[in-house]
Symmetry: C2
Subunit: 343 residues, 2 copies
DNA sequence: TTCCTTTACGCAATCGGTTGTTTTTAATTT
DNA sequence: AAATTAAAAACAACCGATTGCGTAAAGGAA
């Protein structure tokens, strides 16, 4: 541990009067090396403080045991849990994880794919930037047999692995739950096309649930947000509460919006859930802590990360480029809490 | 983009009838290459879809433009913001970031330092695992001139860079604020020695603030927690409220604890802040959303990440191993919100 | 003893840029 | 035109681990 130049297999070879190839093989328990030699080599390597240079191995073998993760930002509970799931799973198979944040910028995303490719990651897990319409910058991975998995915010019309939830069904279930609680005038917050089809699907589930149960769909109860933020939620809810016929329930496709709705209602003296039932989405930590607790749809970030990482790891090295890549759907559940429970 | 074997500088050299050294230099605007050649090379590289192999460059130069980040977990707001700050700063200088989670396990931390060293990271940023007492596994970085910066949870008696806040002063300021609001019986939650000196320092600030202002220090108002969780906070507060002489204020060294205190108080019909003023720590997102809003001490995660990354980047390559490494203190502020404001 | 297998290990090329040194070419000076 | 110098590009070693192929030694069969 005192050396100022890393110990290499050459150093070990010299010390033991063996060839580097023997050292290399011995360290990996190659069958053509005798047990005696293997033991001796490992012992010496340990003594000398040898640490393999993964760069050299990576260069030679053209594989790096590294997974690149490219996401909009890591400071969202959903995404940090996703990364956590990826990291834990990757590490079990001795993979490292490189993180990059696109901050929802298309340009950054493009540059980062280059950077990831440049560092010869073994696989890539990505949740698309909001700005991204064209996904041709991901072709370099497909073309070079590097597994590519999209999570949550996935592209359309591009044959790659995808790990997602069924947003349509989730939206349907959330709305159905409100209906079951007796809500008749259910509002919904959604987002424009630039957010991809994620929110669109949730909205479709919402609409179908309403019509399936004979409830009215009123345009004024459906508000398009430009950003899924607390403030945007407050503004939207104020608009809702100011309507001549205000809604008595809300399906918010994000917990932070649900929180804003609950708090805005409380400030107006509207009772939650009696006068206004709310269900959110994601099961962010805050939904459990806020009062009243917020009913929500689970969004299994950790599991999704784990699934994505496993797909990458299992796919590395297999040369089935032309095959159709499967889509993995993870289950969501309705978590009924105080904000919607009209017992 | 259609090639199934990456384009190398050899391919470019062959196409242009130049030596690979010329290509390599041209791509980096080396002065000994004519402008005409540089232009030609860059154009051809672009056309052929050349992407440099950072492994090869890293192997040769023994540097990788990669920063290793080793932290307990990324799913804490403070730590994910820290990483975010690191990532953004690193990227500006064209560095990549490798993330590893020790999950507060000493053994994992040791293995991960090996892994980071093995991949020849250019620098390391670390927040220590709770279990870690001995830090000799970090010597491999110091010995090999790899910049090492500890953040927030730093070791004692080890000459490395450190980026921290002044926990003593922060604890003092927080307590002082409660005193200014008229609190006379101020409680405190803290943690055992296994958490390092972070909480100890905050407690020291708390104690000094009390004695400086002639307020009593009562052991029963100081509760040692085994985990800094919501549930642990609830339990501790119930104990506090059950005392013959219950406290009228609380300095919680974490927002999640402050939240638990506020909610436990409310459930008991204790008015916050009138009967019980609370100040937390960290300025986690939740402190702003919960009702009442929670006063807190800012913990500039993003800035700390930025500072740490800058130290790493600035130090890479400079061979001043024997010099004393500076400690960077970042400022904290008291954010006065509803939970402590007795206007 | 000779021939044939195994077993155990060495040789040398390879991965793809980087860089110190040398050679070639072009430009400038006398 | 010859000599001097600067500019441009080539040569070749290098980083450290991996691996196909070759070979020597040891053991067994004929």
């Amino acid at each position: 541990m005192e050396e100022h130049r890393p110990v290499t297999i050459y150093d070990i070879a010299e010390r033991l009067n063996l060839a580097t190839s023997t050292i290399s093989r011995a360290l990996k328990d190659h069958h053509s090396i005798s047990d005696k030699t293997i033991k001796k080599v490992k012992k010496t390597a340990e003594e000398m403080g040898f640490v393999p240079n993964t760069l050299a191995a990576g260069l030679r073998g053209n594989k790096t045991k590294t997974i690149g993760v490219l996401i909009p930002t890591i400071t969202q509970p959903f995404l940090s849990s996703l990364i956590s799931g990826i990291e834990v799973t990757a590490r079990k198979s001795d993979y490292s994880v490189i993180i990059m944040q696109s901050h929802d910028s298309y340009e950054d995303e493009v540059n980062m794919t280059k950077s990831l490719y440049s560092s010869r990651v073994s696989g890539v897990i990505c949740s698309l930037a909001m700005e991204t319409k064209d996904t041709s910058h991901f072709q370099q991975f497909s073309n070079n047999n590097i597994p590519l998995v999209f999570v949550d915010r996935v592209p359309k019309g591009y044959n790659t692995f995808r790990v997602v939830i069924d947003n349509y069904t989730a939206g349907y279930k959330a709305t159905k739950h409100l209906i079951d609680q007796g809500c008749k005038r259910i509002a919904h917050l959604t987002a424009g096309a630039e957010f991809g089809n994620l929110y669109k699907e949730r909205k479709r589930g919402y609409l179908d649930a309403l019509t399936d149960h004979g409830l009215p769909v009123k345009e004024e109860w459906i508000i398009n947000l430009k950003a899924m933020t607390y403030d945007a939620g407050v503004k939207a809810c104020q608009k809702l509460f100011g309507l001549k016929v205000p809604p008595d329930g809300l399906f918010a496709p994000g917990d932070i919006l649900a929180v804003s709705a609950v708090q805005t209602a409380k400030k107006r003296g509207i009772k939650v859930p009696q006068d206004f039932a709310v269900i959110g989405f994601n099961n962010d930590p805050i939904s459990e802590i806020i009062e009243p607790n917020i009913s929500t749809i689970t969004h299994p970030a950790d599991k999704m990360g784990k699934a994505a990482a496993n797909i990458v790891i299992d796919t590395i090295g297999s040369r089935k480029e032309e095959e159709a890549k499967e889509i993995t759907f993870l289950n969501t559940e309705v978590l009924i809490r105080e904000s919607s429970k009209r017992a």
